[in-house]
């Protein structure tokens, strides 16, 4: 006797209670009924003292001569570091601060880039964990549930929802078939009619594979899952033609890359997208020497964010609502930087890092948490968002739980509640 294994629960719309709130597993929070997520990863570990942490009263923080003209300021309820060389930060906060929130002091519990990336993006050090975008889009039926244009990606158990663009846009070459003439030996594609018949037959074979996997006395366990995911992938591979015009992010402005994502969001063809931001000149944020370059990075980043948010506001989704109302932008780095400058004018790694969230589901103008004089993340009352010694120490799972709550998904599997104060 063999055991049958069913995965019927996958995709079911269960209502699970958590903290007095119910989450529909396949529901959503936005007015249009579909929330999208855009992840912007500032690779290398950003300097929180250049924008997010205006603690000029703390003696532990060393600042460079360039930073001597920086001052603490506040716009739209958000305290920040104002500097004449970073005017775009103020501009952005004036324009969109009322729709943005700062989340301070998340502890990533490591100072190694790859571990921090994994922890910040998945909430776990376990290799099998999927990142927030993969989790959020796991049950999505859009063409590209989680589109990875650039940067790190942890598919974990959610690989079927992840669509990778490729460094030089290889995905598009495969979609439109131009790959066959760009790679050697050059081969001919059949006519559209024949390709359609081939796709149809491949789909029927995937369906047969799935049916076999579900039958008694057939391979089961992992095979059952493969049957389901194979069919799912085969059903959607033809729809990838919607991505045919995408350009790779390499060599393009962040906002230009994101414009393409917003096209897909607008057409309900992607739910989540991830883009890496390496700063001006692609130098990255890992400034163990010459930390001042981060000033240029931040000015450029906020210039780009302003353009992106303007576009989000000007676009409408299928319900006629502004895309900003259904899109949550998450801007983060895998770690922050040490309060002290080293002898190279750089900063070493620091484990307490901020993130910025903008748009749908976010209580704008909120400044959640803070730092002690030693730049340790303060514990937070999750309801009010205020620092509270009796509150919770924040880690990346709180960020993930909050995003899941915005998507009306059950965050209980993460073991921490969402930060209610961040939710609109």
């Amino acid at each position: 006797m063999r055991r049958r294994s069913f995965l019927g629960a996958l995709g079911a719309s269960l209502l699970l209670p958590l903290g007095g709130r119910s989450y529909a597993l396949s529901g959503s929070a936005s007015a249009s009924g579909k929330n999208r997520f855009l992840f912007i990863h500032c690779t290398g570990g950003w300097d929180q003292f250049m924008v997010f942490n205006p603690r000029f009263d703390a003696g532990t923080i060393m600042r460079s001569e360039q930073e001597s003209t920086a001052v603490a300021a506040q716009v739209n309820g958000l305290p920040f570091v104002d500097h004449p060389d970073r005017a775009q930060v103020r501009n952005f906060l004036e324009d969109f601060g009322d729709q943005a929130a700062f989340l301070h002091g998340m502890e990533v519990r490591s100072v190694a880039h790859d571990v921090c990336r994994r922890l910040l993006l998945t909430g776990s050090a376990s290799p099998g964990s999927g990142d927030w975008g993969s989790r959020l889009s796991a049950n999505s039926s859009v063409v590209a549930p989680m589109l990875v244009l650039s940067g790190p990606s942890y598919a974990g158990a959610y690989g079927t929802s992840v669509v990778r663009m490729g460094e030089s846009g290889q995905l598009v070459d495969l979609v439109d078939g131009s790959w066959q003439s760009k790679a050697a030996p050059i081969t001919q594609l059949p006519s559209e009619t024949v390709q359609a018949l081939e796709d149809q037959f491949a789909l029927s074979r995937a369906a047969a594979f799935q049916a076999t996997a579900l039958q008694p006395n057939a391979p089961n366990g992992q095979a059952t899952l493969y049957g389901q995911t194979t069919l799912n992938a085969q059903q959607r591979v033809g729809e990838l033609s919607a991505l045919a015009g995408l350009e790779p992010s390499s060599g393009r402005l962040l906002s230009e890359t994101v414009e393409q994502v917003l096209d897909l969001f607008q057409a309900d063809q992607a739910m989540c997208a991830a883009v890496e931001y390496l700063g001006a000149g692609g130098l990255g944020f890992d400034t163990h020497a010459g930390n001042d370059v981060q000033s240029i990075h931040f000015n450029s980043l906020f210039t780009e964010l302003n353009t992106i948010c303007q576009s989000l506001e000007s676009r409408q989704d299928s319900t006629g609502a502004s895309l900003m109302e259904s899109t949550t932008v998450v801007v983060f780095s895998e770690m922050a930087r040490h309060p002290k400058l080293n002898f190279r004018g750089g900063r070493e790694h620091w484990t307490y890092t901020p993130a910025m969230l903008i748009g749908s589901g976010i209580a704008g103008g909120r400044n959640i948490g803070g730092y002690t004089d030693s730049m340790q993340g303060e514990k937070v009352d999750l309801e009010s968002g205020d620092s509270d010694p009796g509150g919770e120490a924040l880690d990346p799972r709180h960020l993930g739980a909050t995003l899941m709550a915005i998507a009306d998904q059950d965050p209980s599997q993460l073991g921490v509640p969402p930060i209610s104060a961040l939710l609109a």
């Binding site: 063999r2 055991r3 294994s5 519990r109 190694a112 790859d114 571990v115 290799p127 590209a144 940067g151 790190p152 990606s153 690989g159 079927t160 929802s161 992840v162 669509v163 990778r164 490729g166 460094e167 290889q170 995905l171 495969l174 979609v175 078939g177 066959q180 790679a183 050697a184 059949p190 006519s191 009619t193 024949v194 018949l197 081939e198 037959f201 491949a202 074979r205 047969a208 594979f209 057939a218 391979p219 089961n220 366990g221 992992q222 095979a223 493969y226 995911t229 194979t230 992938a233 591979v237 040490h338 309060p339 002290k340 080293n342 484990t351 307490y352 002690t372 030693s374 730049m375 340790q376």
Partner: protein
């Protein structure tokens, strides 16, 4: 002579593997699995027939495959998934080395392959696995022999794909993979990281103990006030817990420490005169968990005697062939494997043979009494990018090239991660399930391979790669069509089609022929067979 250390294998004590509620694969499909895992290719029709008829056992083929030419390269592919050395980029680029730009993929591939080739050679020559960390030799191809201070042991390399034993001539101590430029170019250390990241990589790769995964409670108050940070590693308890053992390991590697990560000479040569710098920068004596070790050679000798080295080798090997991370319920099996591994002189081939005999490896189905813990058992696997490329080439003669690189082992212009592989940096876990982008890669690979082989076999009826000349003349109504179809299924799937499936394929052929012509029908048929899950899963 370096091969004198070859394992002396005595028959081990026969231990009973714990029983598992798993049903083994049918012999033909098991042969396919071991072929793909040990050689990366498909079994021949004769091999299939011999096993299916009971004339030969799968174990016999395991032995033959372990001694086959393909074993080494396939073993390297499996190692690459865990060692993550095969990245697209290196700190030192071809320009800095005075080479043509188009050689960059070849450089990156060669550098990343060096430590893998060394380990594969140890396995292939059936040397004790400890040789991987104590050898006074490495492996090199023609490019590395030209670029680095290396000399061949016996004969020189004839090209990029010809890997030969070689020795460094810059005075570096014998330390196997830990004395290879390939490993340390991948796991480089910033000048002010003082080799700590390298020490952590060694621990992760060779002991399966990851310092970086330890949950650390950072004492910000102490950390923020200490200047320089090296004080924190001595004075802050949460830092000391790791650094008290990590820093002495790092201190032994200052011969590999570069003042400039991007200087080709700095990064290519060992610097014996810097060995003492660890004491100065890290304020500690070089040591392996309390045992003094002056240089990498002494340190790796201690590491090879550490019981965790053997248990890690077993864990990583099981992981490679089970296609999943070992879990708690695997402990008993791993313990048996480890005892056998030690008794068999740390022979990797013997270990692989035993891993391939485990119920976990041979599982095709779960039994009725299987617990939820067994759900992770890979009753079915998906081909890696390397396997996809090798099997389609084997059957059709088709292999892609783009921008002077094989797209299946490259991401800059290739398809490695789209097809489920790792790039060593951004994607560090091989994808084990059928994804959307992998499905698209297989579609285009199938179309390309089918077009190529039908064109070839039509033009070369006397030397066909896949399709016999007479097949190309017939349609689905011909009585010899189904036998042809079944032979193709055996060639590509290692199993015949059910009558119902054969009818569906015949109908598909007719449909394509009506929409186009007979040649296209054969092309689409071959493409469909490759896109079928029975081809790319095993």
């Amino acid at each position: 002579m370096i091969w004198l250390l070859a394992c002396t294998t005595s028959p081990p004590t026969e231990r009973v593997m714990p029983e598992r509620p798993l049903v083994p694969l049918e012999a033909g499909l098991l042969l396919r699995r071991v072929h793909l895992d040990l050689a990366g290719t498909l079994p021949s029709l004769a091999e299939l027939e011999a096993v299916r008829s009971g004339q030969e056992t799968v174990d016999l083929h395991v032995d033959a495959l372990l001694d086959s030419e393909r074993f080494s390269s396939r073993f390297q592919e499996l190692l690459a998934e865990q060692w993550l050395t095969q990245t697209d980029r290196t700190n030192i680029t071809v320009r800095e080395l005075g080479l043509d730009d188009e050689l960059q993929p070849t450089l990156a591939r060669s550098v990343g392959t060096e430590p893998l080739a060394l380990m594969a050679e140890v396995a292939d020559q059936d040397l004790a696995w400890t040789e991987t960390v104590t050898a006074d030799w490495t492996m090199a191809n023609s490019l590395l022999l030209e670029l680095w201070p290396l000399e061949p042991v016996d004969r020189s390399s004839t090209g990029i794909d010809d890997w030969v034993p070689a020795r460094y001539t810059d005075g570096r101590p014998p330390a196997g993979v830990a004395a290879t430029n390939g490993l340390w170019w991948r796991y480089s250390s910033n000048p002010n990281n003082y080799n700590r990241s390298r020490a952590a990589a060694l621990s992760r790769l060779l002991l399966c103990e990851d310092y970086l995964l330890r949950e650390v409670s950072f004492d910000a108050e102490k950390l923020a006030d200490l200047d320089p940070l090296v004080q924190a590693t001595k004075e802050v308890e949460s830092c000391r817990s790791c650094h008290v053992t990590l820093d002495p390991i790092a201190a032994a590697f200052f011969g590999f420490w570069s003042f400039d990560l991007y200087d080709p000479i700095e990064a290519s040569r060992y610097h014996p005169e810097r060995e003492h710098l660890g004491r100065h920068f890290l304020e500690t004596e070089p040591a392996w968990f309390g045992i003094p070790a002056e240089d990498p050679g002494a340190l790796l000798a201690e590491l090879s005697a550490d019981p965790r080295f053997a248990s890690c080798a077993v864990e990583r090997t099981a992981r490679a062939y089970w296609r999943r991370a070992p879990e708690l319920h695997d402990f008993e099996t791993l313990a048996v494997l480890e005892q056998d591994f030690l008794e068999e002189g740390q022979s990797m081939k013997a270990l692989i043979r035993r891993v391939l005999s485990t119920p976990e490896y041979r599982a095709g189905e779960l039994m009725d009494n299987a617990t939820p813990a067994e759900d992770s058992t890979r009753t079915l696997r998906v081909m890696s990018p390397d396997q996809l490329a090798a099997t389609t080439e084997q059957r059709t003669g088709f292999r892609w090239r783009r921008s002077n690189a094989d797209p299946m082992w490259n991401d800059e212009h290739g398809l490695r991660t789209l097809a489920g592989g790792v790039d060593g940096i951004q994607v560090s876990e091989a994808q084990q399930d059928p994804s959307l982008s992998r499905t698209l890669v297989i579609k285009r690979l199938a179309q390309g391979a089918a077009d190529f082989v039908v064109e070839h076999d039509t033009a070369n009826p006397n030397e066909p790669t896949l399709l016999q000349a007479e097949w190309l003349l017939i349609g689905s109504e011909d009585p010899s069509f189904e036998p042809a179809l079944q032979e193709l299924a055996l060639l590509l799937w290692s199993q015949t089609m059910s009558p119902e499936t054969a009818v569906e394929y015949a109908a598909f052929f007719t449909e394509i022929e009506q929409a186009s012509d007979r040649q296209q029908a054969w092309t689409s048929l071959v493409a469909a067979l490759i896109r079928d899950p029975k081809f790319w899963s095993y």
